[in-house]
């Protein structure tokens, strides 16, 4: 499907989804935290969109909010989509896990938890992945300070 057709299809299913126009080469939609699972499962199950391959899952630390970014692709229909979720609460960021639908999300979400501190609800095994288990803090956040390990010139 082309981007227009995708836009129309998604608007017909979820009218209150925002489309972000500037700054990205793929079609980008912004979804609220609560509707994330519904939107993703509909996009995956429905045969006209069939987004069954998630090729990137990451998080960006903006000054006001965290933003989860999911890059989806369909293995047979070859179209791509970017899904974003914002959380305003930077003290306790939580979101539902998508690893029931995409098995690759298990390790990716563990990495995001490790480096950003975002808690994924109902994740089967949420532990630190790359850092040691007793590490304090979340390094990829912008306000992370570590005098010993980070050398600033």
């Amino acid at each position: 499907m082309t981007n227009e057709e995708l836009t129309n299809t998604i608007t017909s299913w979820f009218p209150d989804v925002e489309f972000i126009e500037e700054g990205s080469q793929y079609l980008t939609i912004l979804v609220s935290k609560e509707k994330l699972l519904d939107v993703i499962s509909k996009l995956k199950e429905d045969t006209s969109t069939h987004f069954d391959y998630m090729f990137c899952l990451t998080c960006v630390d903006w000054p006001e909010h965290f933003q989860m970014v999911y890059h989806l692709k369909s293995s047979d229909l070859d179209h791509m989509l970017v899904l974003k979720v914002n959380f305003e609460d930077k003290e306790k960021p939580e979101v539902e896990t998508v690893c029931k639908m995409y098995a690759t999300a298990e390790l990716h979400e563990r990495e995001v938890y490790d480096l950003f501190g975002v808690v994924f609800l109902n994740h089967p095994d949420l532990r630190r992945l790359l850092l040691t288990d007793d590490w304090e803090g979340y390094p990829l956040r912008k306000d992370y300070v570590d005098e010993i390990n980070i050398v600033t010139l």
């Binding site: 990451t58 890059h71 293995s75």
Partner: protein, 372 residues
Amino acid sequence: MEETIISPDGTQEYFINMGPQHPSTHGVLRLVLTLDGEIIEKVEPHLGYIHRSIEKMCEKDNYRQIIHLTDRMDYLSAHMNNHAVSLAIENALEVEIPDRAKYIRVIMDELTRISSHTLWWGVMGMDLGAITSFLYGFRDHEYITEIFEETCGARLTMNYNVPGGVMFDIHPNFVKHVKDFLADFKTKLPEYDTLLSGNVIFLERTKGVGILSKEDAISFGVTGPAGRASGFSNDVRKKEPYGIYDQLDFKEILYTDGDTYSRYKARIDEMWESIKIIEQLIDNIPEGDFQAKTRKVIKLPKGEFYQKVETARGELGVYIVSDGKMSPYRMKFRSPGFSNLSALDRMARGGKIADLVAIMSTLDLVVPDIDR
């Protein structure tokens, strides 16, 4: 300590640690296996032994410095990592790179792919016990590495790509050496194939072992030859072509069995395809500039940019979030090894320890790629 579980016939499960230092986990990867006799119940990878926080460092370095960091992620496809970042920056700046640079980049890419696959072939034989294949694989790897040394100045971490093209022109002997290499390699590759794949012991060790179905491959995000051996067709060079891949004639290798032997065959066939690609390009390198003019200090416009590249292990994704400054706001590398590793548990369950070694060698993991 974990509880021991006693099964109905009175036997207990036990844990074995294939520790960070181990001859057959290629890199510092720690696997905790739960075993019942010789059968594997669960494989749990513990990562992070070579985590160098490349993504955090990218937030402080400017764009030209980031290219030097990307070499060290998957060092066996160093050139392709650089290519990915350079392409992302060029697409963001909308810079048109000269044809000569495009040809050189693709030739170097394919040579890197061949060298990575010959090294993989050598190590695969060694893991399964045919130790001699290690030296034969390295012999050809050396041949290519010497070609790289002549042109790029370095053997492993090439640093040859810059935003705008390549750093310097190719060496005058480059074309001749590559042609000699191709002529030599085309006689060696059938020999290598027969040495391992013609061997009954090897076939017994790899056929039917570690099967990964197509749905699992898509769900786990297994790309590269490992995914294509399960029928998941997503060669980035075909689906979203970059460089001059859309003008070249090569096949995408797909097998449907999804076992270790198909992954082995997929890589051998990929080497043949790479040879074909280089032969189409090596005689036709156009004259011209090897680098487009870019500003000395690169600032990307605000926005997000994603670039995919097909490395020897799978699909590498470079995701740049820029806010207009000299360094990216967030840089994420979607590494192929990370997703390939997550499927290891699914593939290895129910097999024996010897099968685990065979599966890991066909997944072709390079741990710095996983840990970044």
